[in-house]
């Protein structure tokens, strides 16, 4: 009898232990198990506890997927794979010409790299990279939730139900302070849609859809789509630092970005012609911070943060034409053809770079570039 009680007690203790250690994440973030109908992966970014946000422009939606990859790692060597496109092509059983790497994102908890690949017929694939090993991330029967990016002006939402959604491509995504931020490009109108969506997603879709103007040199005012962005804090105030398809670098105070508002940004730098910004991250070394920005036809730019912070004039202050002499420390790094960029930790970046020998390499940078 004693033995039976002992076994029962052990069993109960075991159950209690399991109950406390396998906390169901569904409850916390409102994720339910199923298979998300993801049509395309334009952008990836991580939220809390290994939740991955997948930006799907073709569905005009953002999916939150629990990767269950949330074991914290203090320090990581990052990822390093030479000829990554050839390796991915072989794993998928096709040729390099048939695949495109859409985005990479570092899981800030586990430091593993996630990589979105698109096949030439449009099929999206999600891969995970640990060190030099690639594996598939299954999106079948996973805890997830979805938020449709609606475009309807609020006062006419009923009329437009069922009509096509205008987002054709999600140009960038970020997560900060419990909010997913999404910049979208439309294949129809030329404008900027930037949304700030609270996470966990709610049915009420409390989201801000913004149109943003920026003034060129205080004379011409234009509207333009954001290509890439990051959030930052300058002297205790939070900002959205955005780069446009026409490459000016623009600062917006985050507290002014509210639903339906038209916010005038302040151009802090122009990055030259024939160029499209690709990715931005903020790195820190000692007491100094730097904005690192990858470009379609320029090397990686490094902007000293102190100079951005010093640009605290009025929003309509014309920018001095030659930004180099205007004091913005703007350095072209010896890093060319970097097509993807994300932050591993404060001093290390994960880069996807087309080397001069033609090889497409994923590698991790050290402090040398800061």
């Amino acid at each position: 009898m004693k033995k039976t009680y002992a076994i029962l007690a052990l069993g109960v203790a075991g159950l209690l232990f399991l109950a406390t250690t396998t906390r169901p994440i569904q409850n916390q973030y409102g994720l339910a198990t199923g298979t998300p109908a993801i049509k395309s992966i334009n952008a990836l970014t991580f939220g809390p506890d290994g939740v991955l946000f997948i930006g799907d422009g073709k569905s005009a939606a953002v999916f939150a997927v629990d990767t269950k990859d949330a074991v914290p790692v203090g320090k990581s060597a990052g990822a390093d794979i030479k000829n990554i496109d050839q390796k991915i092509a072989a794993l998928l059983g096709t040729e390099v010409a048939n695949i495109t790497i859409q985005d990479i994102a570092v899981n800030p908890v586990s430091k593993n790299v996630y990589c979105a690949v698109q096949h030439s017929d449009g099929t999206p694939v999600l891969l995970k990279i640990v060190g030099d090993k690639l594996s598939a991330v299954s999106l079948k029967e996973v805890p997830f939730s979805m938020l449709a990016l609606t475009n309807a002006p609020a006062e006419d939402a009923k009329d437009r139900r069922g009509e096509s959604l205008r987002v054709a491509s999600i140009s960038d995504m970020g997560y900060a302070d419990g909010k997913v931020m999404v910049s979208g490009l439309s294949n129809q109108e030329f404008g900027s849609t930037f949304r700030s969506i609270p996470f966990p997603f709610t049915n009420t879709q409390d989201q801000a859809s913004l149109e943003i103007y920026h003034a060129a040199h205080g004379k011409y005012e234009t509207m333009a789509p954001i290509k890439t962005f990051t959030t930052t804090e300058i002297k205790g105030k939070k900002y959205l630092l955005a780069s446009y398809t026409c490459t000016p670098l623009v600062l917006f105070p985050l507290d002014e970005l509210k639903g339906g508002s038209h916010v005038k940004g302040r151009t802090v730098a122009e990055m030259g012609s024939g160029n499209s910004p690709l990715d931005m991250v903020i790195m820190t070394k000692g007491n100094e911070s730097f904005l690192m920005m990858a470009n379609s036809s320029r090397p990686v730019f490094k902007v000293n943060y102190k100079n951005l912070a010093d640009y605290q004039g009025s929003l309509t202050t014309p920018v001095v034409e030659n930004f180099a002499t205007a004091g913005v420390d703007f350095v072209s790094l010896p890093l060319t053809n970097v097509v993807q960029l994300d932050k591993l930790d404060d001093t290390h970046m994960v880069l996807l770079q087309r080397r001069s020998n033609g090889s497409l390499d994923l590698w991790t940078s050290n402090e040398r570039y800061l």
Partner: protein, 369 residues
């Protein structure tokens, strides 16, 4: 054995065509010694069917540990899932198998067989149906070009296959913004190309350094290569050239109050025609116009741009009733230079009389008699 497979594929295809299915799954007889077959869905090779008897020693639980599929001549094990389907082991890779490539199937280190995925028929090609704007005289600050294809195309290819020629001789670099990912509609049949907005916008560095992509009074040609591949890997097969000349800059917002509305007769299902007085954006024209009846209901029907996008016609689903109607226009409607109903593409803020508005719609009233 092979005869049975052939028969099976034939009967399935016949059945599927008979049922008028868009997506069909069939099996196809392979050229392989081990009887490996291809599983097709919607013209895509989505998997390999390996007869169970060719790997009898492999238990159901250990299929993915023991069976391996590789690209022929490559040592990498392909990612994918194995499962038992009737008497076959089905291998489903993460993406469809590529036409023209050879694949090998292995049980541990023993090669079971090889299969080739057949290419598309030589005449199975997509076509470029149209390039918009249709007009042959376009403003210097033209912002967008649309290309409409007959079937889904491969993304990210336009920089390789689209060129702009000036005066039929010089190829112009940097006319279009190199945007990755490109702007395709959901089924990848309509591509939007932006002429570099940084060069069109007055006073930005790209505009100052390189000038506008197009200049007034010059003849241009948009040349589309025949080698542009579609989602299946088939190429256009035929090149297309669109010639146009440029006229001065358009800096004015479209003004719906200047449009001419030709109302139809009551009781008819005649189209309603609206003449804009200038060409408007092809893609927005079909989505931003709405007809509202007296009770506030949106009329069912279809909008079509006509007369080189200078007019739009609305074909109603039901006959017109007599009474007042409202043409509701979304303010995001643009002309060819990206000027919308609320604001021009770029606005000189030193001029006082050009304040942008934020109204979401503009309403125009008309009556059907």
């Amino acid at each position: 054995m092979s005869g049975i497979y052939k028969q099976c594929g034939y009967v399935l295809i016949r059945l599927c065509i008979g049922c008028n299915l868009i997506f069909f799954v069939s099996c196809q007889q392979a050229t392989d010694d081990a009887g490996i077959r291809i599983r097709w869905a919607d013209k895509r090779a989505t998997g390999l069917l390996i007869p169970r008897q060719f790997a009898p020693a492999v238990s159901t639980d250990s299929l993915s540990q023991q069976l391996i599929v590789r690209l022929a001549g490559n040592e990498t094990t392909m990612l994918g899932q194995f499962q038992l389907v009737d008497d076959n082991i089905l291998f489903e890779p993460l993406i469809p198998l590529t036409r023209g490539l050879h694949y090998t199937v292995w049980v541990r280190d023993k090669r079971l067989g090889e299969i080739i995925i057949p290419g598309l028929n030589a005449d199975d090609k997509p076509t470029l149906l149209a390039i918009y704007p249709t007009q042959d005289s376009l403003p210097e600050n033209l912002l967008k070009i649309y290309m409409h294809f007959s079937r889904p195309m491969r993304e990210g290819q336009s920089p390789k296959y689209v060129a702009v020629l000036k005066n039929r001789t010089d190829t112009l670099p940097g006319v279009f913004l190199d945007l990755q990912p490109e702007l395709w509609n959901a089924d990848r049949t309509l591509l939007t190309l932006w002429l570099d907005p940084g060069r069109i916008k007055r006073d930005l560095q790209p505009n100052k350094q390189l000038g506008t992509p197009l200049q007034t009074g010059v003849s241009y040609q948009v040349v589309v290569s025949a080698n542009w591949p579609d989602a299946q890997g088939a190429t256009l097969g035929r090149g297309t050239t669109k010639a146009f000349v440029t006229v001065p800059r358009d800096s004015l917002s479209p003004d719906p109050h200047q449009w001419a509305i030709q109302p139809p007769k009551q009781g008819s299902i005649d189209p309603l025609k609206i003449t804009f007085g200038e060409p408007l954006d092809y893609s927005l024209l079909t989505e931003t116009l709405h007809i509202i009846d007296e009770e506030g209901r949106t009329l069912a029907g279809k909008w079509q741009p006509v007369n080189e996008e200078r007019s739009g016609v609305f074909d109603p689903a039901m006959p017109w009733k007599a009474g007042p109607y409202r043409l509701k226009i979304e303010s995001r409607l643009e002309d060819l230079a990206g000027n919308n109903l609320n604001r021009p593409f770029d606005r000189d803020i030193t001029r006082k009389n050009t304040s942008p508005t934020t109204r979401p719609f503009v309403d125009i009233l008309f009556r059907v008699k």
